[in-house]
Symmetry: C2
Subunit: 702 residues, 2 copies
């Protein structure tokens, strides 16, 4: 305590006047370059562990009770500061209505992308009255501001992920979202006008000509009404083919159409590729057409829908369907084009093949030759051959027709193999070495098994044979291997989307996270260990796809100052530097504002009670990561303004008062000073003396 404290002012104060500070606060100043250098140097030099280092590492491992396998797993998954992941996992968020991007192998959540649920931090749905996002989320004129996102689908070219777009289905409301992977923002949401809910969306054809949306719970097409007694007569299933216009980056609803299907519960879909290009395949269950009714002493759906030994794999010749649609042979239901079952049967669009009871996943092998169906109440996967399917169709090898006149292909004529894997097989993905990986829900395991046919020479095992299983914790639903549903899977990594975590993580109250488990599948000759458990505590993801990170060509900043992400173009209304101000036309007011570290221009906005306001802001930043936010205290408004971005919102100034607005994203050392005031003058202005001033409004304080 002998050191003399310094004076409380400093020479640096002068240097730190605001102007100078402004030049110092860019995120890319300081630290960054040296750290980069440090990393690069280390990268270049292979390590050799000295005995002392081994001893230290061993001591550390023992103090943390790590096994040798744990040390290896740590080394396989750890990413030092600044090192990037090899893959990006795009995962549905389940009932969160979002998409999550997760790095692999580190399993770190890189970003959520808002789709069906407004998220304030992204400024998604928080742009005041008539917000474009909220308008887009309405169904029948009413807000439906959440989604149950199940199936993400990356756009493909030639059956490979091309990294350009991501589609995501909303099971609860039969909607489809389109995300542009240049700025990772949702650009479009389409609502299926035929059905209330769905399941099997989204799946793309190999060149993303179409995005396939399969149904789920049968309803009366077009939002109709019918009682359970009329189930067989009035209820219908469907599958919709949404036409994608890649140049526009949008679904073209006018060129999209659906197929009417029997009221079985259609489920997942997969598009054929290579050998099976031109077809797609949809599972179904409840071909029993059970209608439940536990409240009347009838068997509940869970029992009623599980009675028959087989359900129907739907085999759709979509190129034929497209031609039939283009030839004008589709009917309109609720304004949407539908190919009826009669037409499908007559034109040879739709065939059924028996599949073991209550299947969930149908997955086409990378070469397109086989369709693998996993029936959750059957311990096998069943493998169908597209060659056999084509031949059976040509030879009319039918075992009959279903109640709706759809021909049923003879099972033995189209089946290639059945492989017994264990209890509760659900979904299958593939690697680069001729193996398939199937999730086993009831076994809580991932099964690796060998493919046959042309893969027989590629893998070291007897064809169509279970090779090994890895237990997972617990109750795996979908799984996902690196590019594992494309024409050229990578192998390397596999994610077990384990639905119950139970004891795997700290208890977070009665609501627990999901468990994404990372398996190392590099070496088919050895085990495929779980090397990381990643809790997902922000929703219940359903399916994911894993793409090579270097395929993504994301924008660092928007291409021009004043860019409108909704239109993906420079916005003609975007305020530009030097043109800021408030324009009044009667009670209609336009605010033109710019934002840059560390001020808004203007800083005071003077309005009058009752004004209708359009408020436009351009971020004139051009530095990567220089994001600003914008909110008005007490208003339901928050924008996220990425570098170059333009955003606008509308509101009516119906509550007089003085409201601070401020930047909601920490942008610089003077971030707190990046603020201003919105002044809404009361119609009968009070005296300026505050001590006389009665509050103009009353805050609710519930």
């Amino acid at each position: 305590m002998t050191r003399k404290p310094r004076a409380h002012t400093s020479r640096l104060h002068v240097a730190l006047a605001a102007g100078v500070v402004l030049t110092m606060i860019a995120g890319d100043a300081l630290g960054q370059d040296t750290t980069r250098r440090r990393r690069r140097t280390e990268d270049a030099k292979p390590i050799e562990l000295t005995p002392a280092q081994v001893a230290d590492l061993t001591k550390l491992a023992n103090s943390r009770k790590l096994s040798v396998d744990d040390l290896v797993a740590a080394a396989k998954t750890y990413l030092p500061s600044g090192r990037h992941d090899d893959y990006v996992l795009f995962s549905s968020g389940g009932q969160s209505g979002q998409v999550f991007a997760i790095g692999v192998p580190s399993m770190r959540l890189l970003r959520s992308i808002s789709v069906f649920t407004p998220e304030s931090w992204q400024g998604y749905g928080f742009a005041g009255d008539n917000d474009a996002v909220r308008e887009r989320l309405k169904i029948n004129g009413k807000p439906v501001e959440w989604g149950d996102t199940h199936h993400p689908a990356l756009s493909e070219s030639g059956g490979e992920y091309d990294g350009q777009f991501l589609f995501i289905g909303d099971k609860a409301n039969a909607r489809l979202g389109v995300i542009d992977l240049r700025d990772w923002e949702t650009k479009q949401i389409v609502k299926n006008p035929l059905t209330v809910s769905d399941h099997g969306a989204a799946f793309v054809t190999p060149n993303t000509d179409y995005v396939i949306e399969g149904g789920q719970y049968a309803t009366v097409l077009g939002y109709g009404y019918a009682t359970p007694e009329d189930y067989k007569k009035s209820y219908r299933g469907m599958v919709t083919m949404w036409k994608f216009d890649r140049a526009k980056g949008r679904i073209d609803e006018s060129q999209s159409f659906a197929l009417e299907l029997p009221p079985y519960w259609q489920d997942l879909a997969d598009a054929g590729k290579l050998a099976s290009d031109g077809f797609f395949f949809v599972n179904s269950f409840n071909t029993e057409m059970a209608t439940g009714g536990i409240e009347s002493g009838k068997p509940p759906f869970e029992a009623g829908a599980s009675q028959r030994d087989t359900d129907y794999l739907h085999i759709v010749d979509w190129k034929k369907a497209e031609k039939v649609f283009k030839d004008g042979k589709a009917k309109k239901i609720n304004g949407f084009s539908v190919i009826t079952m009669d037409t499908s049967a007559a034109e040879g669009i739709l065939y059924f093949a028996p599949e073991p009871k209550s299947p969930h996943g149908v997955d086409v092998t990378p070469n397109g030759q086989y369709m693998v169906v996993a029936g959750k109440l059957d311990p096998h996967v069943t493998v169908y051959s597209i060659e056999k399917v084509k031949k059976a169709i040509a030879d009319k090898k039918f075992s009959g027709k279903d109640d709706y006149g759809i021909p049923i292909l003879d099972f033995d004529a189209v089946k290639e193999a059945q492989v017994e894997l264990g209890l509760g097989p659900l979904h299958t993905q593939f690697d680069d070495k001729g193996y398939a990986y199937t999730s086993l829900f009831l076994d809580s395991a991932v099964a690796r098994w060998s493919l046959g046919g042309e893969y027989d020479s590629k893998n070291a095992d007897e064809p169509w044979k279970l090779v090994q299983k890895t237990p997972v914790q617990y109750n795996i639903g979908h799984l996902c291997a690196a590019e594992g549903d494309t024409v050229s899977p990578d192998g390397n990594y596999l994610i077990s989307m384990s639905k119950w975590s139970v004891d795997r993580f700290l208890t977070t109250g009665p609501l627990l996270p999901q468990n994404f488990q990372l398996l190392d599948i590099t070496s088919p000759g050895t085990t495929m260990p779980v090397i990381f458990d990643a809790p997902i505590g922000v929703g219940e993801p359903h399916y994911c796809q894993m793409i090579k990170a270097d395929k993504l060509k994301s924008w660092d900043i928007y291409p021009e100052i004043g860019w409108n992400p909704h239109t993906q173009a420079l916005d003609p209304h975007s305020p530009q530097k030097g043109k800021e101000g408030v324009v009044r036309d009667g009670s209609t007011v336009t605010v033109n504002m710019t934002a840059i570290r560390s001020h808004f221009t203007p800083e005071h906005v003077m309005l009058e009670e009752g004004d209708h306001v359009t408020w436009r802001i351009t971020s004139t930043e051009q530095t990567k990561d220089a994001t600003h936010g914008f909110c008005i205290g007490g208003y339901n408004i928050n924008l996220s303004l990425e570098p170059g971005e333009f955003a606008e919102f509308e509101f009516t100034a119906d509550k007089p008062g003085t409201y601070p607005f401020y930047c909601t994203e920490f942008c610089s050392a003077l971030h707190l000073e990046m603020m201003g005031y919105l002044h809404i003058k009361p119609k009968a202005a009070p005296k300026a003396d505050a001590s006389d001033t009665k509050p103009a409004t009353t805050a609710s304080a519930k």
Copy 2:
């Protein structure tokens, strides 16, 4: 390809009839026990690395370009499957309006907790009309359904985190949320009726008698209006003391009060403890009372608010303030009790001390003897002594009064030390070894420095001295050490809440994640390396607190079947097993439903167009992690039903049709069958024949 495919049916089908399946689908079946055993065995046995294992590890490290330091960092942070984190970091979510719980050292996001922003996956704000959460989020009768969460505060007993409650402030809207850490759900939101926005919330007194909410941007108290010309006269700052009733687990608004303050921009607060118990401290900036106006050629706020060399540390004797409030000496503004500045000055409640320009953080040392202020435009931290403050007050050592009559303590009389650390010091936390840690925004570094006084004998360094710095990537805002703002910090870990990530992670479009960096601070004698980078891609967290995991006593399941989390009690309206059904009274309908794997009872709900419906559901599950969801397709309704939970929602059946409802949380192998139908019969019912049926409604397909 010689193996004969099996028949497509299987002996197992019989065993897998629904009843049997039901007994197999519990999450705690299979796999789990064996895995637990495996882990325990490994834990018991210290490892010794064989030369072959060292060679393998070295090869792996080199293939992934890991340094020896990286291997060590990996071993320090890796958690094998099922091993739990040591600490939980409760982090604000920034403009996401949430709280995030993150495990340390693994840095895995365990769960988000919805507070100010509805989140569908938690069923938070998605319970139909008159939803309790949405009602609670209204301000002035209008929805404000987001928040800018800045400061979480764990409840304390004797200055230690007790793991019972968590408070979280909403800067944008001056609100405070109360979370019960038994079920990790938000129980209450209070809105400050005085001010539009705030910043310095929440901070608790050492026994959580009060939760302190400091202001930020001055306004006219009570939501009033005044132009910038009247700033000094009409604008005011404030700090509010919210009384917490621990037995009820709720803020008691009637026993809460505020202090009127000059229109400086009050900022962060910290409560005194031990030596300084009974006081709290609030920073301020813009004591210049600058009013900006860049649009009129005036200096912007960022320059105007940075002119003076000093601002004012506010020193509040809250026990005196409490007495003054209880003695009825507070005024009412907008219905809320406010102690005026005159009263504060007269009663000796409020004192100022000069503090270096534009400070951000004020942090009390664990022993309560020192207040550490970091001025972001001054390279020092300034340390004040509570003993000196008390003596200066007693001795009336004032250097004057401010414009509002508040006495200013003589700086030299209250200052203990100033320590030069670097550029942009913001916030300070503490360890168990007599060191303080301060974030340096402009330097992008964490500084470790030695405390003096009684800490002088505890640490190995000269008192009040910078010991070392670690660069972080980039631009750190807050930091957080393990229990580092309590009376007994743990040391061990420190989080750098780095605000810019720039190049640290894969580019996720123009909007990048934050970077939570984990530093190992166990050994003051050596470095304090960054050992993990965790991207936060779901909001921009502002501050966090890190609590020992074993202090949390979370519920695994709700205590009784039919528990209402809003009231934290068994709900008298909760449907119980055997009492399900639909009760009609005219057009008022009550649905009583139960949910258990894998069915809802009832499965069909028959309504008529125009019915007003209250729909009640009880989950009768009693197994940890057996969560169900509930949604009605096309409706803005989604519930999360944790084991034992009761929930209800209201709606008007105004759109006829047949709507599937289903479980939105994957619960069992027969999860997809856990569904039913809501039938809303049109007032003029159409014929049952579907081919004649015109759709009753039209889906929007924008």
